[in-house]
């Protein structure tokens, strides 16, 4: 089971994501954004960072990198894609997950620990997360305020597309609508979230809750591979 981690100019969590995917039991390799070949990756991670300097809007330019055509095809075939932080912004700009990410309501770069509630355990991204567990993970972003028209938010919630929400005393760090921290695509094979599971993948880092998410991804991709 192989995870490909896309490296855009300005990505800065790519190595952390590779390290964490390996801890979760995958083979993991970087994928340079100018090469459209996914090199046999069974799952793709778009990592955090500041692709193209976040110019214009976060994710707006990365969306047109050559590799994104292949990532889209991978998603259209039902392949798993996880976007973390800037990766979530790229997925939203590309229309691979619904919604958009605005400047934080505080107008500040928010970097702190947050707590997430997991709304479902029957998805490729949450299957290894025990019931009734909330996840402690860090956020570090300037544009994480999730937004979408009210009727679309209603539809998203109704179909179970809000996978993670900010909860507890740590609160909502960015003013995100309905405390949305992470969403699922309609086919439930693409997930974007603002918090960083790879930065919470070892006890030494303060939490290894993020590993539960990555383990879900790796296990699900492995099962799909075995079934194919």
């Amino acid at each position: 089971m192989k995870v490909g981690v896309v490296v855009f100019p300005g990505s800065n969590c790519d190595r952390d994501a590779i390290h964490a995917a390996r801890l979760a039991g995958a083979q993991a390799e970087p994928l340079w954004h100018e090469d459209p070949d996914l090199h046999g990756a069974d799952a793709v991670i778009l990592p955090g960072g500041f692709a193209y300097g976040d110019y214009l809007r976060a994710g707006a330019l990365a969306r047109f990198s050559p590799i994104m055509g292949s990532v889209r095809e991978h998603a259209e075939r039902g392949g798993l894609v996880l976007g973390i932080c800037n990766g979530f912004q790229v997925l939203a700009e590309a229309g691979l997950v619904p919604g958009a990410l605005l400047r934080n309501a505080s107008l500040r770069f928010e970097h702190r620990w947050v707590r997430l509630t997991v709304t479902r355990r029957d998805t490729a991204f949450t299957s290894a997360i025990p019931p009734d567990v909330t996840l402690l993970m860090p956020v570090a972003h300037g544009e994480g305020c999730y937004t979408s028209p009210d009727d679309k938010l209603d539809a998203l919630e109704a179909r179970g597309g809000v996978l993670f929400r900010y909860v507890g005393p740590e609160g909502n760090p960015n003013g995100s609508a309905r405390d949305v921290a992470g969403v699922l695509s309609e086919r439930e094979n693409v997930c974007g979230l603002m918090p960083h599971p790879e930065r919470a993948s070892e006890r030494l880092l303060g939490s290894d809750d993020g590993l539960l998410l990555l383990r879900s991804l790796v296990t699900s991709a492995g099962q799909r591979l075995a079934a194919a």
């Binding site: 214009l56 809007r57 707006a60 330019l61 047109f64 700009e93 919604g99 958009a100 605005l102 400047r103 934080n104 309501a105 505080s106 107008l107 305020c145 937004t147 979408s148 028209p149 003013g175």
Partner: protein, 91 residues
């Protein structure tokens, strides 16, 4: 083939949270101004386009505005033709 110059204005849609506009508005009391409200902050992109006609060049700009300069979910855009005297002189 001629060259045409345009500017694209991109604005947050009505009802979309505009923290920049809000921050600007919040700072106005420091300037002793209390008559200004409903501040919205957007973006302006200027560009030159080669085309067989102004209409053909404008069509390219409109495509870019819709696909790249603005995110239609949260932003609206408009395109205006501009004169290019300064650029002509510089060539």
């Amino acid at each position: 083939m001629s060259t045409y110059r345009f500017c694209v204005s991109v604005m947050p849609k009505p009802g979309i949270l505009d923290p920049q506009g809000r921050a600007v508005e919040g700072s106005l009391p420091h300037l002793g101004v209390d008559s200004v409200h409903e501040v919205r902050v957007g973006r302006r992109v200027e560009l030159s386009v080669d085309g067989a006609s102004e209409g053909a060049a404008r069509a390219v700009v409109e495509r870019l505005a819709d696909e790249l300069f603005a995110n239609p979910l949260i932003e609206s855009w408009s395109v205006e033709a501009m004169a290019r005297p300064a650029l002509e002189a510089a060539r």
